[in-house]
Symmetry: C2
Subunit: 515 residues, 2 copies
């Protein structure tokens, strides 16, 4: 396989599963050519005159959609680990004897371990999408026949929009839908809040199937997925396990270490003047992130200021801030708890967004770039501020990129991370996998000190004279190694098991099998 | 010019302004080929990192958008006769010496009479879009250099989607917008309710300019137009004359003749069982249509039933029905009065739609087909139920098609029309211009009798035994001629001044200059 060194010094394949791939050229350097993908022109004459597209079963829908060998089947991950649809879809494919399917989920979860048998028997040729858990481990062991491709949420939209991935059949599970195909995730037993991860699929897939357990008479309002893009609708008994789709309640971390990280992060934002009237932020829904939101809320109360908007994923803490008037708007990409779902259904200022509005880099701008402060995680960070979110230091591919790469375009990117985990340093000489180039990462907050990217002279200046423990990233690395020792490199094989795409479709790194 | 007889027997051009045109082949007969138009792939790297796309003036935006000879400039008509933008746009084009522009409005109004000078001097080569008033008269007199093309709202979306019309620069006036380009028509001095007529323009135009007099900080919520599709934003003092954009209050007709028509229409729907629990309807906002809604409301109260949805244009009568629980949803394409705007801004069950959701025929179905009863107007109807909405019997092209053609796909199409106007019969042997084929028009209600299309045996059966004055369409025509005499044919020239497109992009008829 031909490899080429890219702009962050990584050797990456120039071909992925038989298709040419462009190595990463640097942030904002790659100039796309050509036109977006376009759908074949359809005509209403080929659809039911009364708009009723309902068929009796998923199997019937798949057959009518023309399921056959080699097709690309897409799905979204709003049902998270509670998804009950995709295993059924591939069971049917197996039953029909269809082979070599490419599964293109926005993410897969432990509940999809069931599909390993189909990777084994050739029903599924490979997966392009984030793999969490068993599928990631399987892939890391070099067992998947073709190369996985990991993309950010925005990168997935970009890949579909630009025709890099052409979807034959899109499967869209929905909390609520009507027979015409309008659908949303706001209501029903399997409410997931929204369905934005399926937007590109609905717009660009050749055939679109909407599956729900809550079929309502037309119109299903609001239509997060537009029925005008849908070919078939199906009602089944249960599309998801509610308690695995959405948590009853998200909780702030109780870990003293993480609370410290969150407090230091919030204090850094306060001291450096990032928290000011009309600012905006995105924190995510991990325990530490929630704690950051909560500290932000306290600081804002003290200062008597408010934020213009917060980007989701939403949770009860953000919802409380919205309802108390501390935030004008939540621009939400995925709801993380029931309070988020409730608020989105009730409050027009809790607005649903999509990877198109928020993250698509091959657009005319997106929302991520407008956010003042974004709080993100990482499995590893190196002394050049490059960061990794997909592999662990043992080399295993166990996480997806999510919106992480897209959020790096926000005005100030802060990574609160522990200096080491299980006595393995998190700050190191070189990360296992580069998911984001250091030039876009501004601040690393660890329990033992805060490193500011030298490119951010403004922040370095603003932090001067404060009692914040500002250090260089090299100092942080040295401290980590002084405590844990220099970490061993994982023992890797030869085979490239996954390509990591940058937001513009170029290859920023790849992942090697673990021996 | 090559003419060919189409499926409704009209001679139509096979070429329009140098581009091949397909004659109408019958309802549901034309099979489109190829793929939809697709936008060049853009990259965020070429847009401001902070999302602020605001420039100082319309002139600057037009220059930055690369305005040059021969371009297609589009606009929407949500500001109706109160539009203050498009005259300025073409003043600037004139000032810059740009020639041969094609103006592609969703409709033009009397306020655009100012542009005749630019049709004269070659700044504008021709207009493709509905022309109301002076521009229609100018065109009818054969003075426009190229052929006008009239399309329905859905046909306009279809033409843009399919690449039949490629827009170079879209001008989108908005009641409210943010510097990123998110925009809506819900708020601000020039609120128009919604901006759906500009949706196709925003999605497919090469460059998109949003112009507002109410620029708010990001995010402008909701975004009826998505900033991700926008290149430049401009704030000016005033985009429209509010009182000409939207009426303070729509009013039910006081004409006894029209009230009679409305009452007969409602009674017909009642007697034939079309009004039943969970039904749907679309009536429009003319004086007669409003009266029909009001009669519907009374009938529904008497029967203690409700409608699942009403399609707009919305007005205070529909809003009252929504608020009193007589309708579950209003699916609205354009608001006609301030009550409509208020309700749409407040009530999530008053949902905004677009020509894409409601009317696009080259889709996978649209909303129009799901409506049970639609009430429409016509300037003329012939004995084959073919109808005309664009020309008067004197041959002048004075109206646009609007959503009229698209609504013909609703389940029952009823035209309440006077039997004659100014002593000229409305029901006749042959209409001046065929805009809709008779097979889609079910019932003609006149003050002197109701004609049911023989294709609708079910309605003929259902009306039997009632005291409704059911007649044949031939009888209605004979009565009209007995009273008014046989009407004179208009004196027409040779030149084809406008092509009338069907919803699938084929040519259903054309309009000849008036001598």
């Amino acid at each position: 396989m031909d490899l080429k060194k890219n702009a962050v010094g990584r050797l990456v394949p120039t071909e992925i599963n038989g298709v040419e791939a462009v190595p990463f050229q640097g942030v904002g350097k790659y100039k796309p050519e050509g036109r977006r993908f376009s759908h074949v022109i359809t005509s209403n004459k080929d659809y039911p005159a009364d708009g009723n597209k309902q068929v009796a079963s998923i199997k019937e829908a798949l057959i009518k959609a023309g399921l056959k060998d080699g097709m690309t089947i897409s799905s979204h991950h709003h049902f998270r680990n509670g998804d009950l649809i995709m295993n059924q879809v591939f069971d049917i494919a197996k039953e029909l004897g269809v082979k070599d399917l490419r599964w293109f989920p926005s993410a897969s979860f432990p509940c999809h371990e069931h599909l390993i048998q189909y990777l084994e028997d050739g029903t599924i040729s490979h997966i392009e999408g984030s793999m969490n858990g068993a599928l990631g481990r399987y892939t890391s062991q070099g067992k998947m026949k073709k190369m996985a491709v990991l993309r950010s949420h925005g990168g997935r939209y970009q890949a579909v929009q630009d025709g890099e991935v052409q979807i034959d059949i899109a499967i869209i599970g929905a909390g609520t839908a009507d027979p015409f195909g309008n659908a949303n995730g706001l209501y029903g037993d399997s409410a997931s809040g929204l369905l934005g991860f399926a937007l590109a699929d609905s717009e660009y897939a050749d055939k679109v199937i909407v599956i729900t357990d809550n079929m309502v008479p037309f119109p299903c309002v609001p239509w997060q997925i537009q029925g005008n893009n849908v070919d078939f609708t199906v009602k089944i008994d249960k599309v998801g396990e509610p308690e695995k789709i959405i948590s009853g309640t998200t909780k702030i971390t109780k870990s003293p270490d993480r609370l410290l990280l969150a407090e230091m992060t919030a204090k850094f934002c306060d001291v450096t003047g990032l928290i000011k009237d009309g600012f905006s932020f995105q924190t995510g829904a991990g325990g530490t992130s929630l704690a950051v939101s909560d500290y932000f809320s306290k600081i804002m109360k003290d200062k008597n200021i408010k934020a213009r908007f917060a980007r989701g994923g939403s949770n009860k803490y953000l919802v409380r801030m919205l309802e108390e008037g501390q935030i004008d708007y939540i621009l939400d990409g995925q709801t993380f708890d029931l309070e988020g779902v409730r608020s989105m259904g009730e409050n027009p200022n809790h607005t649903w967004t999509s990877p198109f509005t928020s993250y698509n880099y091959h657009s005319k701008g997106n929302f991520a770039g407008l956010v003042d402060i974004v709080i993100l995680g990482a499995t590893e960070v190196d002394v050049n501020f490059n960061a990794n979110v997909v592999t662990h230091s043992d080399g295993y591919l166990l996480h997806g990129i999510g919106g992480w790469q897209n959020c790096l375009f926000s005005k100030t990117v802060i990574l609160p991370i522990p200096l080491f985990r299980d006595r393995i340093p998190v700050v190191m000489d070189e990360v296992t996998t580069i998911c984001g180039p250091g030039e876009l990462i501004d601040v690393i907050v660890t329990e033992r000190g805060i490193a500011i990217n030298p490119l951010r002279k403004d922040l370095i200046e603003a932090a001067k004279g404060s009692d914040l423990p500002i250090k260089t990233i090299q100092e942080l690395k040295d401290e980590a190694e002084a405590i844990c020792g220099k970490p061993d490199k994982p023992i890797l094989g030869e085979k490239i098991i996954a390509a990591i795409k940058w937001v513009d479709g170029t290859v920023i790194d790849c992942v090697i099998e673990v021996k």
